[in-house]
């Protein structure tokens, strides 16, 4: 099967959906002439012209709202945030308008829109540019929240998100754009929102992670396998709706659960996962659920400190050993 980068997978997903449906357009800062700050929209302006690939000025609240208004009357906007850090100035539009218009209008208007862009810490970009905001969006009924870890998932989920009739917050891994995966060359590659995926099977411990942390877990699993410890790595892929059945069935099997997330611990999405797992698997659990998260601090700039703050393979390994009572 052809191998593709996560960046190209996203790019092709948009290109294919824009070819398929003339109501789909993309709007955001530098998405057109500049081909995207992270080059995810490379070539789209050339293919679809300025009518459908729209460079927006720096006004996230404004252009998020423009997208919502356009979606209400039948277009299908893709709104790119240069990074999700900047979605904070637009969050009122997403929470109070996009998520609620279907309800406020009692189903008369719906808002088929995708808010996408990279999220999570990158490398040494400091505290204002290094945050994982998925728990904010996952909290809000009326939204769907998607966080793909691989190029395959990125493509299949973005295509589904664009075709979805609801507002979808689609958070890409800022450090995953160059990662590659096998991706079939299929214009109808659609991965349903709300279905998780087992990224590695194992019987001793369940590792639950999404986006970049799936990669960290896969590394940790490889390392632990050397000691005969078999980890099951479960990637929910969509945080809202969450595939609790998949998570629970894995923990039912393994009896141990470690949740790994790149963001802050307190009231992070991992807490929700932990609540669901303890609720459904209390009897099966042989140890308390552990979380591995970022330190509870704004991100420092210096590389050595940044590494210390973020969850590393060694932290996951240590947590797995703890829930197995090996240390």
């Amino acid at each position: 099967m052809p191998v593709q980068s996560y960046r190209d997978a996203l790019n092709h997903a948009m290109r294919e959906e824009m070819d398929r449906d003339p109501n789909v357009f993309i709007m955001g800062e530098e998405v057109g002439h500049y081909n995207g700050a992270y080059k995810v929209t490379q070539g789209l302006l050339q293919r679809f012209s300025e009518r459908r690939v729209i460079d927006a000025p720096i006004a996230e609240m404004g252009f998020a709202g423009v997208g919502i208004g356009a979606a209400m009357v039948g277009l299908r906007p893709i709104i790119e945030f240069m990074t999700f850090n900047f979605s904070l100035v637009a969050i009122d539009q997403i929470v109070n308008n996009a998520a609620k218009i279907y309800q406020m209008s009692a189903g008369q208007f719906h808002v088929p829109i995708v808010f996408r862009g990279p999220g999570g810490p990158a490398v040494q970009v400091g505290s204002q540019h290094s945050q994982a905001l998925e728990s904010f969006y996952a909290h809000v009924p009326g939204l769907k929240v998607v966080m793909p870890s691989t190029a395959l998932d990125a493509k299949g989920l973005l295509k589904s998100a664009i075709r979805d009739d609801n507002p979808v917050v689609f958070i890409e891994g800022e450090t995953l754009y160059n990662t590659t995966w096998e991706v079939p060359d299929d214009g109808e590659l659609l991965i349903p929102l709300g279905k998780g995926d087992i990224k590695r099977e194992g019987s001793h411990v369940t590792l639950i992670a999404w986006s970049k942390m799936v990669w960290v877990c896969l590394e940790a699993a490889k390392e632990l396998a050397k000691d005969g410890i078999e980890c099951e790595v479960v990637d929910p892929r969509t945080l809202r709706p969450l595939d609790v059945d998949l998570l629970a069935s894995s923990v039912q099997k393994t009896g141990r659960c470690v949740i790994v997330e790149i963001g802050w611990p307190v009231a992070g999405f991992g807490a929700e996962v932990a609540y669901q797992v303890q609720r459904l698997c209390m009897d099966a659990l042989d140890a308390p659920i552990e979380r591995v998260t970022s330190d509870d601090v704004p991100m420092p700039y210096a590389k050595n400190l940044e590494d210390e703050v973020q969850p590393q393979v060694r932290d996951v390994v240590a947590a797995v050993r703890r829930v197995l009572y090996l240390d």
Partner: protein, 349 residues
């Protein structure tokens, strides 16, 4: 550390002076006919009666939450929306019963909504602040000040994208002129030349704050200058004049695609919402404005056009009957009963 000098942050004494527009057409009534004016008068009157009925129901505990009445300002929404075609869009605030009615939403659907009934225009889910109606392209009443301005720009964006010549009217208050959502929506409409008319209903107060304590310069229409956008500013108590002046902007939007920023100076006779006693203004000020009641004015002009008093009275009876029926409809409708259905469309898409 603190200087002994008391520093005031407000720019004028607290007694407002009446803020009338300098406008050479202010006292010349626009030429009109009974055929034009009668339906406008009818709409204004229906809105007035509908809101009076809702105030009464509120005091009886039949309507809850926030109820913001537009009484005194009816000429603005009626005059403005009368310039539109059915396909055109309207986006409004939480003070939007009149706008919805003018766009074609029925008094039955509006009052039933306020009563929280299943037969309301949004099935009792939205209440007074969130009226929506797909059929008449009424894109909603919104509760976050300024948050709907970009949405209006978005509807206009869609019209431009499709080149379907629809026009969007966006209504907002004077108090919205300081918030970022308005500034960004305006900037994008100007940059992309979107066919939208931004209408500031300057009723001179945002809740208890007179405009002179909200902005450095009491002229919201000046915001257009920095964007090279067309602007207008006029008194809003003559419904025909409102219609004429908004029509110019709608025509501009429809033919050239260009946006306009318009400020209409008006006044609300009631408190900000039902819980506001309005202590921040004097009785005299209120009475002065009531003397300019746009309904009285329209009625007097209707007489001037030669419409027989009997016909006017018949029209008024008709309005009375309509609102009585709507109240009856709201009272007797079943309570709201669905709410889980409208969270996510089509299950887990």
């Amino acid at each position: 550390m603190v200087a002994p000098v008391a520093t005031s942050f407000s720019s004028r004494p607290t007694t407002p002076e009446s803020a009338r527009v300098e406008d050479d057409t202010a006292d010349e009534p626009s030429a009109t006919t009974a055929a034009e004016l009668a339906p406008l008068y009818r709409q204004m009157l229906a809105i007035r009666r509908m809101e009076e009925a809702s105030a009464k129901a509120y005091s009886q505990g039949k309507i809850g939450g926030f109820l913001h009445l537009i009484i005194g300002q009816e000429a603005v929404c009626v005059g403005a929306i009368s310039t539109l075609q059915k396909d055109d869009y309207v986006v409004a605030t939480y003070r939007e019963h009149g706008h919805a009615y003018a766009k074609g939403v029925t008094s039955r659907a509006i009052l039933a909504e306020l009563y929280g009934k299943k037969t309301g225009c949004v099935k009792g889910l939205g209440g007074s602040m969130h009226i929506f109606d797909r059929e008449t392209n009424f894109l909603g009443g919104y509760g976050i000040v300024g948050g709907h301005v970009p949405i209006a720009a978005g509807a206009a964006f869609a019209a431009k994208y499709r080149n379907d010549k629809r026009v969007t009217l966006c209504f907002f208050g004077d108090g919205a002129s300081t918030i970022g959502g308005f500034a960004e929506g305006l900037a994008l409409a100007a940059l992309w030349k979107l066919p939208v008319v931004m209408i500031c209903e300057n009723n001179q107060y945002s809740m208890g704050t007179p405009l002179y304590r909200s902005v450095a310069v009491e002229d919201v229409s000046l915001r257009a200058l920095a964007h090279g956008m067309a602007r207008d500013r006029f008194d809003g108590d003559d419904v025909v004049k409102v219609k004429r002046r908004i029509a110019d902007a709608v025509e501009r939007a429809r033919t050239t695609g260009e946006p306009t920023l318009i400020e209409v100076v008006t006044y609300r006779f009631r408190g900000h919402s039902m819980s506001d006693p309005g202590l921040y203004r004097t009785k005299d000020e209120l009475e002065e404005w009531k003397r300019r009641d746009p309904l009285n004015r329209a009625r007097a002009r209707l007489v001037d056009t030669g419409m027989p008093e009997a016909d006017i009275a018949a029209l008024e009876d008709d309005v009375k009957a309509e609102i009585e029926d709507a109240v009856q409809f709201a009272e007797s409708s079943p309570v709201a009963d669905e709410y889980k259905k409208y969270v996510i469309k089509d299950g887990e898409g």
